[in-house]
């Protein structure tokens, strides 16, 4: 007999799990209700006592465990609240630290607060604050800041995190400029607010050469002192993404989705679709856009996108979730839908 199961993959697990669902029989429903009624008819003092006892033992055990952990990690943990598998780095204002992390070299200018971590096979660089340049030769790096999550693959990049503002520059020259621009302004002690003393001109890259037409506007200063949040946010949105492949953009979109930055995720997904509308990646991006629209209850857009995707005849791995999503949208719109996998 040639009966052999297909290869095990997510789709086959989905079908198998859905196949196991059978209706609850009336007898089972009634029997369960009878037991529920009995259970809720009496107040649960014993259960409460058990819970209280469990809580007391739990608290005592947790306190003992915490004491052991604190004692054992005091000598090795660089800063509190850092998981054992992570490395925390804190650099004081004005200080400079070069740190090697695997095959990468981190050039950190204080004040800075960082955490280096291996999470499920990915290397994650958490930057709470600071300015640093990274010479990156190893596996792809996820850079997480208070306002963004970025997947970095380029060999050299610089990042500046200040409050909720993140600025990323990719490439040797752009990274150098970002470091110089910020270190020149950050390293000296704070200047008095009024009136500014005569300061020698800072060491900065040569100014932009004005165009030959002398009537043109004044050249833009390469060291903008008034660094507004919106400007740097806009830069961080665009600079690291330039020249990325659709696959890298999709990876960034996934990072943005997991970080809850849905607007950024939608922009990146739209770029993936624009780059190659007929690709499988574009179909996956369309499905994600539909999911995002559904999650914010934009049902017409979610429906239009899922319809577009289904009309494009995607491969089965996308078709099935698209059909399910379409069903969920229809149900949310008050329509009936027979799920193609789990049935009516």
């Amino acid at each position: 007999m040639s009966a052999a199961p297909n290869a095990l993959n997510a789709e086959s697990v989905r079908h198998a799990v859905d196949a196991t669902v059978s209706p609850l029989s009336d007898i089972a429903r009634a029997g369960a209700w009878q037991r529920i009624e009995q259970a809720i008819a009496v107040p649960p003092p014993r259960v409460l006592r058990t819970h209280a006892r469990t809580a007391v033992f739990g608290l005592a055990a947790a306190a003992a465990l915490a004491a052991v952990v604190v004692i054992s990690l005091r000598a090795t943990t660089p800063s509190p609240g850092v998981p054992a598998h992570a490395t925390a780095l804190a650099v004081d204002a004005g200080a400079h630290l070069t740190h090697r992390w695997d095959s990468d070299l981190l050039d950190i200018h204080g004040p800075a607060d960082l955490r280096l971590e291996h999470l499920l096979g990915a290397r994650v660089l958490h930057v709470s604050a600071g300015t640093l340049r990274v010479h990156h030769t190893g596996t792809p790096l996820v850079v997480s800041t208070p306002s963004s999550t970025t997947w970095v693959t380029g060999p050299v990049f610089a990042i500046r995190v200040h409050g909720q503002t993140t600025e990323i520059a990719s490439g040797e020259q752009a990274a150098k400029e970002l470091i110089e621009r910020n270190i020149v302004t950050l390293a000296p002690p704070p200047l008095p607010v009024t009136p500014p003393p005569v300061i020698p001109p800072p060491v900065i890259p040569p100014p932009v050469i004005p165009p030959p037409d002398s009537s043109s506007p004044a050249p833009r200063s390469p060291t903008p002192e008034t660094d507004t949040d919106t400007d740097t946010e806009a830069e961080s949105e665009t600079v690291p993404d330039s020249g990325l492949s659709p696959a890298a953009r999709y990876a960034l979109a996934e990072s943005a989705m997991s970080a809850g930055a849905t607007a950024r995720a939608e922009a990146l997904l739209a770029e993936v679709i624009t780059a190659d509308p007929d690709s499988r990646l574009a179909a996956a991006a369309t499905l994600d856009l539909a999911r995002l629209a559904f999650s914010r209850n934009d049902l017409p857009r979610a429906r239009r996108l899922s319809d577009e995707l289904l009309a494009s005849n995607p491969d089965p791995n996308l078709r099935a979730p698209a059909q399910r999503l379409r069903c969920r949208i229809q149900r949310a719109q008050g329509e009936r839908c027979v799920d193609p996998v789990s049935g009516p």
């Binding site: 199961p5 029997g31 369960a32 209700w33 259970a39 499920l120 989705m257 969920r328 149900r331 789990s342």
Partner: protein, 196 residues
């Protein structure tokens, strides 16, 4: 955050009716709670089946879910749909059950033989059963939380924020749990095929 269930009840109460039932059930109205049970028992049972497998103890878990639901009713503030509130409890019950099942010898049985389409030819039924057994064997090798996250994502097509909400975790954690299950699937798939 509606989770697709296997059946759509033609007499399902509207959202407003559910809210009214909740309000009455909180005050101790047994009939209102019974109506809530009737409205949601099928959905909870289907979700439990997907999460823990077609096991004989599902009816006990269904009972556990609704007893916990009854006790939690006073804390229900209406921020989420009743079904979502109930599904969070269901996920919690399923996790507890799966963890307990890993700690003790499994004396229950999965009904893989019941899932094949009886109208299908014998060859096809054998393949269907084999596929279900293979999938259940894979899921049984996973830890409770990656298993639940994987099913919520890949079977029920929930978004990561939805999974995180149901599991009471961060979105990133939910994502990592699904990724861990995928890696386990990639590693275990050849073993499972060989063991057949």
């Amino acid at each position: 955050m509606p989770i697709a269930t296997a059946r759509v009840s033609p007499t399902a109460p509207s959202a407003a009716e559910l809210e009214a039932l909740i309000a009455r059930a909180v005050t101790g109205d047994g009939q209102a709670f019974a109506a809530l049970y009737r409205a949601h028992a099928d959905g909870v049972h289907a979700l439990l089946t997907r999460l823990v497998g077609p096991r004989s103890e599902r009816e006990d878990l269904l009972q556990d879910v609704f007893v916990r639901f009854h006790r939690a009713l006073p804390t229900y503030r209406g921020e989420a749909a009743v079904s979502t509130f109930l599904h969070r409890i269901t996920v919690r019950v399923a996790i507890d059950h799966l963890r307990a099942r890993r700690r003790r010898p499994d004396t229950s049985s999965a009904f893989a033989e019941d899932v094949a389409d009886l109208a299908a030819p014998a060859d096809q039924r054998l393949v269907q059963r084999a596929e279900v057994e293979q999938a259940l064997a894979f899921l049984d090798r996973l830890e409770a939380k990656p298993r639940i996250a994987f099913i919520l994502r890949e079977v029920l097509d929930l978004s990561y924020p939805e999974i995180a909400h149901l599991m009471g975790s961060f979105t990133t954690t939910a994502r990592m749990r699904v990724a861990a299950a995928h890696r386990a699937l990639a590693q275990l798939a050849p073993d499972l095929r060989r063991s057949r």
